[in-house]
Amino acid sequence: MAINFSLIIPEMLVAGLGLLVMIISLLVPKDQKKGLAYFTVFGLIGVLVVLYFMIDAQGTLFNGMYIVDPFGSFMKILIVLSSIMAIILGVEYVEKFITGFLGEFCFFVVFATLGMITLVSAGDFITLYVALELMTISFIILVGFGKNIFRASEAAIKYLLLSALSSGVLLYGLTLVYGAAKTTSINGVMEYIAQGETAPILVLGIIFLISGFGFKISAVPFHMWTPDVYEGAPTPVTALLSVASKGAAFGVLLRVFMHALPGNQELWMPIIVVLTVLTIVLGNFVAIPQKNIKRMLAFSGVAQAGYILLGLIAFSTVGVSAALFYAMIYVFCNMGAFGVIIAFSQAGGGDEVQDYNGLWKRSPFLAAVMLASLLSLAGIPPLAGFVGKFQLFRAIMEQGYVWLVFVALGMSMVSVYYYLLVAKAMYFKDPHEDSQIKVNLPIQITLLAITLITLFLGIYPTPLTNLATQVAKTFF
């Protein structure tokens, strides 16, 4: 059987890039690694271009262990895009706070990217597991890089132990499913499940699977690690973790469950609905009292994961398309917010919300980007987040979950409250110091682009909605 390697060009490119960067970083003097970072960025942009042209490609490789389809490509674009932004935003930060490790930062990001893009294309449990671990281990290392090394290593060990624990559970689930379905191919397993099979061993396996994926996308109650790790990790890593890793995990979750669910909706749907509601409610509630902005964003991220899950609940083209749209938008919003945090801490600012007092006067640009990003997260028009939420609500209401729309909307009002608390600090309070904040050009351009995209997609979302709809049809 001929293997069409052209389908995995992006993965190969990323892998090659990772290795190249690793080697070059050994050669380049410690203080000149900035160029390397931009080299990485350009490499990833190349990958992005390739992915963009490959979006319609479809096919399987290695006996079905690897699936290339529009859905996967969409998620890959999302992931690579986040990695690019994380590196651009992170260069200065890493140079300043984790001096000397820029090369490592770059290639671990690339490897994590590799893990993530493989994950969303996994066609087999083995691929899935390996990709997941590649991603996780790269992230663990990245998390451990932190500016405050002690907090960072605490975050890293927590992340490591908990994700190992959850991988253990996930794996155990996989084996049970394997035992029931007698295959590790995702399609095979799913077809088996879709027949309406409810063998206890299978159900148990799937529960374990849910908990494993739930851990990665930080759905309540599997989210416990999220705030601690987000808070302790270096901010660029937090940013990447919050969008890309969540996105990748969500991608695989969709891939696994989209086929499996129709058979046993009444069995699984209540669980997913409950998890979603818990995620949205708890995420938003607990975000309110947070004083640390990263931690607050961590909880908000938990809540956002809940919103993305709504797309799964809707279980329709519209739902998936909405979820994909939202996930993509979420990348921009979150990156925008974290970008501001990065730029701010580079200028010596702390991570507490009150440190942002009067940011408006010190840098109107950063304040505006932060505001736009947070409001987009809250789903306020004309920012893209609104369209995303609108689509999601529409999708679930179509399925008759009106009460769920009430909950979700209500909670998004709660989220407005704590996002506005940041706005309040930025705009209403007087700054502790008056110095203007200088933001370097790449970050400025990135943040500007992010904001403009958020705004543009909020006002004219058609290009992305069309794409997302087209992609979502993969499943139906």
Binding site: Y129, E133, F150, L160, Y172, T175
Partner: protein, 102 residues
């Protein structure tokens, strides 16, 4: 006669022991080892299923090998981080790891 169920039982017990240990041990290294136990339970499952259910197919066994490799990587990274923590706090007690909370 040792049937599949015996293996599964063993693996389940092992998994639970690992899980219990992971949730109760105070020493981070012990936790790592307990997690290793859980992964071993997984491996037993995989191998047993292959043996009993799909005799001609080695997928499960190959999976097990992947699991072992990945677990090794994880342990390596984990130990590295623990060393960093030990340098700082002279302890790898997970009870003390609560700077980040609430």
């Amino acid at each position: 006669m040792i049937t599949l169920n015996h293996y599964l039982l063993l693996s389940a017990i092992l998994f639970c022991i690992g899980l219990y240990g992971a949730l109760s041990k105070k020493n981070a290294i012990a936790i790592l080892i307990c997690i290793e136990l859980m992964l071993n339970a997984v491996n037993i499952n995989l191998v047993a299923f292959t043996k009993f259910l799909t005799p001609g197919d080695l997928t499960g066994q190959i999976f097990a090998i992947f699991v072992i490799v990945v677990a090794a990587c994880e342990i390596a990274v984990g130990l590295a981080i623990l060393i960093a923590i030990y340098r700082d706090r002279s302890s790898v007690d997970v009870e003390n790891l609560d700077w980040l909370k609430w």
